[in-house]
């Protein structure tokens, strides 16, 4: 069987195919050294938990331990392929530093204890706070790593049981803008497109989406189209020379913070040339006139000046987009974590609405997710929204949810929008949130302006509960630490970025006394004795499958309808896309076919927000604007970012990710192949900026913003001039340094998009300074967007243990 170093070649071998054909099968697998498939006792189905693509795989188990993974050949998402994080990340489960017993704070120390003691402390504090202040004292910070069943259970406990409005997920950092952009354009969350649109598209446009690194298997699908004889044209918007940019027909590298101007420029050209679908607009859309007026002020020359991109490139890109017959657009952090996030992402939806390109093969929008189960936090309400895409400002929806939960509507907080994460941190800072329960995420590294976050988390008056696999930077501040089981050690469903639901099953026992997140929540609910309005238990389920059955009822009749799915069906069929109901028992490939939307005022999830002020649109206003339930075009003007480069801070800092790591590296740094590929932090600079600073490859830099400084080795790349890039993954748990000078978020600004409330990690003013000459190259991968300009740097390659199998035998 062909073997390949998948650290050196993250996307594996090409299997070219033609438009409309099925993507060929290629089964990737990796087993612990010395083992072959014949040695494996059993294979247990699961899906990726280190990105949002939802690659389906089987976990290999031998003697009760995980020993490898293999892609599932016939799954719709990956057709057998796995990316480097899928292939190697599982090894982190067996790390010797897993948490195996609960910890509680005794003075300055966290000491081991039993579950009863740890849970009793949490319950006692919860009760005391409820008596003293009420539900507003308690906040839940959930994670796009929880399974659906866990997200739903925590949503029921928080919204229905405790009655707090303070629930959000770490998805606020990755996909809040995806959700909000969809809500603004379609009045409801829900991914319009499907990965299969890659098979049909003649133009694929990636807006701030480095797909090659964030969803490598989906990028392999694009590469396989590009290797065919009728490849799609690629448009890339990104300030970095990403693998996507290198494959693009047009690469636009705007100055960070100018995405709305760029989008308006593209829309201007498309409308001016009449590349629009009038019939579609007339029949299915409101708001086009305002857009037409607005973009008149954005001719290519003006946009070129704002974005510092050649006008000719804008024209070329617009022509390709405007003449596309089957256009697929994808959007991610380059838009979501930048200035005017929602407004920019909405313009991508507008592009598809004016071109009438939705709900048909090859015609789709993928507002992508970052976290693996971001979709579940959104649909189940673990991001603060009401479960099932119910509308908090529609009393009938609240009443309906109350019926599902057998509560009075008044018991479910809906007097204002749910409190988003950054506001929760603010309430904790001023002392009105006094208990924060953080599950499976690491705000002490992932949130902006870390010195502020540390000062909030370390307050004595804040009771901090952290539920995780490891003693993370955040867990060190905790009052109670709960050891959690993870992927492969528990059962549940995961929904990916194109609405595909997979069942991920328990393969091995969790270490020590670690428990599944679901079991922890069920125990909490039981100890608090949460009741419905008739005195029965509020949480009526006791295991993953019964939780899934409860969720199915909650989702019934809503856009994210799971009612015709079962664990059995998921086992038998592999991934299924929602909505999956009696009418669509096999699931639904694309939303919004035929211009039918979920935006009817009585049915929609939201009435939208003002894109600049974030103020929610009043129900009456929405009814007047969109009585017929059409798609909504929202125009936006370009506004300058809040922090502009200055004499003192002449560069723009953007933070981001690399292919080999996920989030704050709690798992990926514990997988040796991934860790070796990107072992430490670096900073990317353009050649002209490096020359100005007197810096060459590998030199130690100080990167400073008004909030702090970070030290990192310089990598000179083809990044656009005026921009410095830092990966945000690197925190402090695996360094000896106590000086807090490694995490990218030491430097980021506390500011967020007013509509999506997503923090802005990609627009800050910065300066760089040479600290120390060094001879060795920066510890950055050469295979990715951080590819060096300097020749003679040894290419990133895996040690012998990074070789995986690629089986093309099943290829068609």
């Amino acid at each position: 069987m062909p073997q390949r170093d998948r650290i050196a070649e993250p996307w594996g071998v090409r299997t070219p195919y033609e438009p409309g054909d099925a993507w060929p099968v290629r089964v990737d697998s990796y087993l612990r050294e010395g083992l072959s498939a014949g040695d494996v006792d059993r294979w247990v189905p699961a899906a990726s938990l280190l990105h949002s693509n939802g690659d389906a795989m089987d976990i290999a188990v031998k003697d009760g331990a995980m020993v490898g993974v293999r892609g599932r050949a016939h799954d719709r998402v990956n057709r057998g392929r796995l990316d480097p994080k899928d292939l190697f990340g599982w090894q982190a489960n067996a790390s010797t530093d897993r948490l195996t017993r609960p910890l509680v704070r005794e003075g300055d120390e966290l000491v081991e204890t039993d579950w009863d003691t740890a849970m009793s402390r949490i319950v006692a504090r919860t009760r005391a706070l409820l008596d003293e202040q009420g539900p507003s004292a308690i906040g839940f910070y959930t994670s796009g790593q929880l399974f659906l069943e866990e997200s739903y259970t925590v949503a029921v406990i928080a919204h229905g049981g405790i009655g707090t409005n303070h629930v959000d997920g770490n998805t606020r950092l990755c996909t809040a803008t995806a959700a909000e952009a969809l809500k603004e354009s379609f009045a409801c969350d829900g991914q319009p497109g499907s990965y299969e649109d890659v098979d049909h598209a003649d133009v694929i446009a990636l807006f701030g989406h480095n797909m090659a690194e964030t969803q490598p298997v989906l990028w392999s699908r694009v590469l396989d189209r590009l290797a065919g004889s009728r490849p799609p044209a690629i448009i890339c918007v990104d300030p970095r020379p990403t693998p996507v940019a290198r494959a693009a027909d047009v690469h636009l590298a705007p100055l960070p913070g100018t995405n709305v101007a760029l989008m308006n420029g593209l829309l201007h050209e498309i409308i001016a040339h009449g590349w629009i679908d009038r019939d579609y607009l007339d029949a299915h859309v409101v708001g086009f006139d305002e857009l037409e007026q607005r973009v008149k002020k954005y001719p290519p020359e003006r946009v070129a000046e704002i974005c510092r991109v050649p006008a000719e490139q804008i024209r070329r890109a617009a022509e390709i987009l405007g003449r596309a017959e089957r256009l697929l657009s994808t959007v991610l952090q380059g838009f979501y974590q930048s200035h005017q996030a929602t407004a920019a992402a909405v313009q991508v939806n507008n592009l598809h609405l004016i071109r009438g390109m939705l709900g048909r093969p090859g015609c789709g929008v993928l507002q992508m997710n970052g976290q693996p189960t971001a979709e579940n936090t959104r649909e189940c309400g673990a991001d603060g929204d009401l479960p099932g895409f119910r509308n908090w400002s529609n009393d009938a929806h609240v009443a309906d949810l109350a019926k599902v939960w057998n509560l009075e509507p008044e018991q479910i907080p809906h007097y204002a929008p749910p409190t988003h994460l950054m506001q929760m941190m603010r309430y904790a800072e001023e002392g009105s949130i006094r208990m924060l329960w953080v599950m499976g995420t690491n705000p002490a590294v992932s949130l902006p302006e870390l010195h502020r976050i540390r000062s909030i988390l370390s307050q004595e008056r804040l009771f901090l509960v952290v539920q995780d696999l490891f003693l993370t930077e955040t867990a060190r501040f905790a009052d109670v630490v709960l050891p959690a089981a993870t992927w492969g050690e528990k059962t549940g469903t995961q929904t990916n970025a194109d609405r595909t639901v997979h069942l991920s099953e328990k393969a091995v026992e969790p270490p020590g006394e670690a428990r599944s997140d679901l079991d922890i929540f069920l125990d909490f609910a039981a100890r608090l004795d949460l009741r419905d309005k008739d005195g029965g238990p509020l949480v009526t389920w006791k295991d993953p499958e019964s939780a899934f059955e409860a969720w199915k009822e909650c989702s019934r009749g809503r856009p994210c309808d799971y009612s015709a799915m079962t664990y059995g069906k998921l086992r038998e069929r592999g991934g299924i896309q929602w909505p999956c109901d009696a009418e669509h028992p096999d699931g639904t490939e694309r939303l919004y076919a035929g211009g039918r939307f979920y935006s009817d005022p009585d049915y929609c999830e939201t009435y939208g927000r003002d894109l600049v002020t974030g103020a929610p649109v009043e129900p009456t206003e929405y009814r007047a604007m969109n009585p017929g339930g059409r798609a909504v075009i929202k125009a936006a003007e370009h506004l300058p970012p809040h922090e502009l480069p200055s004499e003192e801070h002449p560069l723009v800092l953007i933070t981001g990710r690399t292919l080999y790591h996920f989030h704050t590296r709690t798992k990926t740094a514990r997988a040796p192949q991934l860790q070796q590929a990107a072992p430490d932090v670096w900073a990317e600079l353009s050649e002209p900026d490096a020359r100005l600073a007197g810096v060459t490859e590998g030199d130690l830099l100080e990167i400073a913003t008004p909030r702090g400084t970070v030290q990192a080795a310089a990598r000179i790349t083809g990044i656009r001039e005026g921009v410095v890039f830092l990966p945000f993954h690197y925190g402090y748990w695996d360094t000896d340094s106590r000086s807090n000078d490694r995490a990218g978020n030491e430097l980021t600004i506390t500011d967020w998009d007013p509509a999506s409330k997503q923090p802005i990690n990609k627009t800050a003013a910065a300066r760089v300074r040479l600290l120390e000459r060094r001879d060795a190259p920066a510890p950055a991968p050469t295979t990715t967007a951080s590819a060096p300009r300097t020749a003679s740097i040894p290419p990133t390659a895996g040690a012998p243990g990074a070789t995986a199998d690629e089986d093309l035998a099943g290829a068609m």
Partner: protein, 154 residues
């Protein structure tokens, strides 16, 4: 128009003060600043239109932050750790709302007068500015709605 010019100036100034006072409440800090720019824009637009009506209005918006206000900004960061900052914020947002509501009525009256006088130029000015005022009001209202439960009950 003179009254309107004065009130827009006051609102811009007040929004900047609110921004500085609530530096620890980052959304209020940033947005109050952004929305002050709208009122400053209105001040300029009114000053440009004024000569046609025989009025002389200054185009230079007031409300640049003084040293004392910068000190207040620093103070607000410290105050931000205390919960009564919330009450102060509610009071400030309430004032933004009522000031903007007054301005909205002023625009309404100017707009009606422009219609009656068939003054297209003035009507255009109203149509350009009045929606901003309504958005300023909605923002203050939404922020009040969102913050009141935590401040008053929490």
């Amino acid at each position: 128009m003179r009254d309107l010019h004065g009130r827009e100036n006051d609102l811009a100034h007040h929004l900047l003060l609110v921004s500085e006072r609530h530096k620890a409440d980052h959304e209020v800090y940033h947005l109050a600043r952004d929305l002050a720019v709208w009122s400053q824009r209105h001040v300029r637009a009114l000053a440009e239109a004024a000569p046609s009506y025989g009025i002389d209005l200054s185009a230079e918006p007031e409300g640049k932050a003084t040293l004392a206000e910068r000190l207040r900004e620093r103070g607000s960061e410290l105050l931000g750790l205390r919960s009564d900052a919330g009450l102060l914020m509610l009071r400030d947002l309430r004032t933004v709302y009522t000031e903007a509501a007054g301005i909205s009525l002023d625009w309404e009256m100017v707009g009606q007068a422009a219609k009656a006088a068939q003054d297209d130029q003035l009507l255009q000015l109203v149509q350009q500015c009045h929606p901003d005022t309504l958005r300023q009001m909605r923002w203050a209202n939404a922020k009040l709605k969102e913050s009141s439960p935590q401040v008053l009950v929490g």
